[in-house]
Symmetry: C2
Subunit: 246 residues, 2 copies
């Protein structure tokens, strides 16, 4: 029998990756590989850990509830990806899952929930957010899994903001109607994109944001969009105008 | 008792709208207004039909399974919105629902399913697509509900294409890396955005597209995105560069 081919399974692991490194799967990972995907010893998958690039790895020591992986060869070296944070008022359930997956596909480095006066979902399941980010990275070939921050109130977030990181926020009443005109001429460098809750920012919050020298309001057109739509739209514009879609 | 205030219900209706016009609700609409939203005679809602603008209307003749509306006053006149068609390989279930909702929020005029060699979902429920478009328009204050076309094979679609409508398609191997550079200098006018299936276009399909004088390939960055993410990203870029986000 010939050696089994590389499967299309791609899995995030926590362990360091290098030639010959052994990776012990978690029980969930072992269950997925062995029972769901029905892989046997010798099958090969892709693994990544967000730091050491993407590797070909072979299943070894396969049991019903455990398995380990042997790291074979580097397939893609680690790349940094754009230095873009995504800051957002959490949404409920499925829409939050979706938004986190989309932001990961769009390559953000960090996911930062922010609580505003009109935020509806104030309890945020950070583990679920991280799991959604990992799943999106696995499915979309993303090498870097975004980190997830503890929720912060908007005032606290801004009080500790690094002024070297430009904050681009969606604002229905932005003075410049064209988002590309507002982004044009902005210097490259650390960025953040902020999308408020479905009800928008409170007037006092908006005033607070507009006072900051590091903040830029962008309009997202004449129609109302749901927050998860605005997320993808704003991140796409920022990637295209300032990020790695150039 | 004072007159009841305007509720935040916004509903699409098929009937013509004008001052004093009476609109008979469908049984589903009557059930929603009377039993779900628990509105009584005299309550006011917003209605639109995609042609005559948005109107204030008052519930009249309310029964358990029927109700009619009396059209009171124009709130927003009809606006045409951008002449952008969204052409897409259908996805399965929830992701298709989502994509249709998002395209509606982004203001497209027409939804056109296209069958490509790698399209997975070949059976398309057009009624469900139209219902999703209506729901998104209702929720997001959109005045124009996109029309929905019968699915067409890519070759048939292109064979009957109006060459006056520029076709912008997502292409991982686009020659120009920057989508904004590819869109810059393009004349305004009728547009279409085409996003292929999750597996991308077949090489022969890609060659066919690139041969067309009316087609422009745009890259959507160095990461793989799911088709529903690419939809929002591409439509946002087109709205911002060529459409009504200026």
């Amino acid at each position: 029998m010939t050696a089994e081919k590389l499967t299309d399974v791609r899995m995030f692991v926590a362990a360091p990756l290098s030639v010959g490194a052994s990776v012990t799967c978690t029980p969930e990972q072992a269950n997925y590989l062995v029972n769901v995907m029905r892989l046997a010893a010798g099958a090969e998958i892709l693994v990544f850990n967000g730091r050491d690039g993407e590797w070909r790895a072979r299943l070894a020591e396969v049991g019903k509830r455990r398995c380990s992986l042997e790291c074979l060869a580097l397939v893609r070296p680690q790349r940094a990806g754009p230095d873009v944070h995504y800051v957002f008022a959490p949404l409920k359930h499925a829409r939050l899952d979706y938004m986190v997956q989309k932001a990961t596909e769009l390559g953000v480095a960090h996911l930062q929930p922010v609580l505003t006066r009109r935020t509806v979902a104030t309890r945020v399941n950070l583990e679920r957010m991280q799991a959604n980010a990992i799943e999106a990275a696995e499915q979309c070939g993303v090498l870097r899994v975004p980190t997830v921050g503890e929720p912060l109130k908007l005032e606290a977030l801004l009080a500790n903001w690094d002024a070297g990181r430009r904050l681009i926020f969606g604002d229905e009443a932005a003075e410049v109607a064209s988002p590309l005109a507002a982004l044009a001429g902005m210097a490259s460098g650390p960025l953040a994109v902020l999308i408020g809750p479905e009800g928008g920012f409170d007037p006092a919050e908006r005033t607070l944001l507009l006072e900051k020298s590091y903040a830029t309001a962008i309009s997202l057109g004449p129609r109302v969009m749901r927050a998860d739509t605005a997320a993808v739209a704003a991140l796409a514009l920022v990637n295209a105008a300032l990020g790695d879609w150039r």
